[in-house]
């Protein structure tokens, strides 16, 4: 089976020199591509989770009675939404990276930074997407009617209880479409980690087509496909989730 595939692509590369799917018959290039794909998936999952956590915490803090807390959150949002994510990434990695402490590496004598470039990519991209998520969740929270919250008040719920039991579950449902959009955007933004040499899919693809110019079109095709599939999986998952959270009697009739 595998041999048929490799020989097919070898033949294809022979017949059409511009369509050299090198990674389908050269195992080194194949693992390079798989490694990149794994890294892209890792970045996507980690950033999606962390940015959602940032969004929830941020939205909670925005409702804080303390003015300075609200201003701090507002400042964070403003800053991260109005500056280029790519420059944020460079700033985090190059500028903050050299201030953070280093630890002794596994070999016992080299110093390695406490946070690797992958770590910085996750932090930076999550904070970027998180700044959007805060606002998305806040809008969802505002969509929960005051009177419903009052009902919880009148039953003796504390602010925290009514947030967890009532406001968040409802706000989350309202936020999902906007959240969906933002997370799709986040997955696309993970490619920018190439700027700090994170070996994700785009990085590996650029590497492959630099080494084998004949593999340019195939790698492009793969890139397009992978991202459309990744985004498709996310969107399908979110839609399924959205449906499962639908409240009987409230959905579109």
């Amino acid at each position: 089976m595998i041999e048929t595939i490799t020989s097919f692509f070898l033949q294809l590369a022979d017949d059409y020199p511009r369509w050299n799917f090198i990674f389908f018959y050269d195992s080194f290039q194949w693992w390079r591509l798989v490694g990149g794909l794994k890294m892209t998936i890792l970045l996507s999952i980690a950033c999606v989770l962390l940015s959602v956590v940032i969004g929830i915490v941020g939205a909670w803090l925005q409702g804080s009675p303390r003015r300075w807390v609200r201003l701090l959150v507002q400042g964070y949002i403003q800053f991260f939404r109005n500056t280029p994510p790519f420059v944020q990434l460079l700033f985090f990695y190059f500028a903050l990276g050299q201030i953070t402490p280093t630890i002794t590496g596994p070999d016992g004598w080299t110093e390695v930074p406490l946070i690797s470039n992958v770590g910085w990519a996750i932090i930076s991209l999550s904070f970027f997407a998180g700044s959007f998520n805060v606002e998305i969740f806040r809008a969802g929270i505002e969509a929960v009617p005051e009177s419903t919250r009052e009902a919880a008040d009148s039953l003796g719920f504390s602010r925290f209880q009514s947030y967890v039991e009532l406001v968040m579950p409802l706000a989350f449902r309202v936020s999902l479409p906007a959240l969906n959009n933002n997370l799709v955007n986040l997955i696309k933004t993970t490619t920018q980690a190439i700027g700090i040499a994170v070996p994700e899919l785009l990085y590996e693809c650029v590497g492959i087509w630099n080494d084998y110019p004949s593999a340019l079109y195939p790698t492009m095709t793969v890139l397009f496909f992978v991202f459309i599939i990744l985004v498709g999986i996310l969107v399908a998952g979110m839609h399924k989730w959205e449906k499962s959270m639908q409240i009987p009697g409230y959905g579109a009739s």
Partner: protein, 297 residues
């Protein structure tokens, strides 16, 4: 369905699943990122100086030995006019050109998305979705590598500069997103308007140009500005293609100052700040327009 569907313009079941009908969140449309702006309302303008302070005072307090942060900041001020005039203004130039091309192409693509000729419609929808859902950086790389580096017209050889490829590459996602803005705006005009105009014997083209588009023109401005801000913030990506914009020049400047690590914080802070100062007012204006036009729907 009470009212008729206008061919091409409306389709059944096109909405996101509303999970909770009574409490509808009105902040977003299909562009998603228009919500990018809706939060700004509550913001106070003095966030700007606060953010400034955060980025400029903090590194000053950091410890440095030998080559200190004060030296680094002196270096920054030495390079500042160059970075601004040759770097940042070039980013702006790229963003303006891209927006121009992207908007023109996007309007055409958007109109193609609602044409009754199904083959054009399907092709336009496919192009829109493809370029909307691919990472910008992937598009940039592909354009950089797939386009020839020079054209030969007769005996003349015209080389294509990298920045023009960057403009082209960035135009693709802008085109796709503007296309969605146009489609969304046209579909947001109630069906009754089409019916009323058609009953007065307007042709389809007349309805579109004389009745529908004038109505939704205003509504397209806020998302259009929003996309301009997003585009401007994407221009630093061109540095990966070797275009000599702000980030590329900042790196070169750091190198020519002997690569002292203390230079990194001031230079990148400057880059962040200057983008912030440019994009923040746009975002605020977007909000204001959005609010003003939202009422008159």
């Amino acid at each position: 369905m009470g009212s008729r569907l206008i061919p091409g313009v409306h389709s059944r079941a096109s909405t996101d699943l509303p999970v909770l009908l009574p409490y509808r969140y009105r902040g977003t449309d299909e562009n998603g990122l228009v919500g990018f702006s809706s939060w700004l309302v509550s913001a106070t303008p003095w966030i700007v100086p606060v953010a400034f302070a955060l980025c400029l005072i903090w590194p000053l307090t950091a410890l440095a030995a030998g080559y200190g942060y004060d030296d680094a900041i002196k270096a920054l001020f030495k390079w500042l006019p160059f970075l601004f005039l040759s770097g940042f203004l070039f980013n702006i130039l790229i963003s303006v050109l891209t927006m121009l091309i992207g908007t023109m192409a996007g309007v055409l693509l958007g109109l193609a998305q609602i044409t009754p000729v199904w083959i054009i419609q399907v092709a336009a929808k496919f192009a829109t979705q493809l370029f909307r859902n691919s990472p910008w950086l992937v598009l940039l790389f592909i354009v950089l590598l797939a386009l020839p580096f020079e054209f030969t017209i007769g005996s003349m050889i015209i080389s294509v500069p990298d920045w023009s490829k960057a403009v082209f590459g960035l135009s693709l996602p802008i085109m796709a997103n503007i296309s969605e803005v146009v489609r969304g705006a046209i579909q947001s005009v109630p069906t009754g308007q089409w019916e009323a105009a058609e009953s007065l014997a307007f042709s389809r083209r007349q309805v579109l140009w004389q009745i529908i588009l004038p109505q939704c023109f205003k509504r397209m401005i806020p998302p259009w500005m929003n996309w301009y801000a997003i585009l401007t913030m994407a221009t630093p990506l061109c540095s990966l293609l070797g275009v000599e914009e702000l980030i590329t020049l900042s790196r070169q400047a750091i190198e020519s100052e002997n690569n002292h690590p203390e230079l990194l914080v001031p230079f990148y802070s400057f880059a962040l700040m200057i983008f912030f100062l440019y994009c923040y007012p746009i975002a605020r204006l977007t909000i204001q327009l959005e609010k003003r036009y939202a009422v008159k729907l």
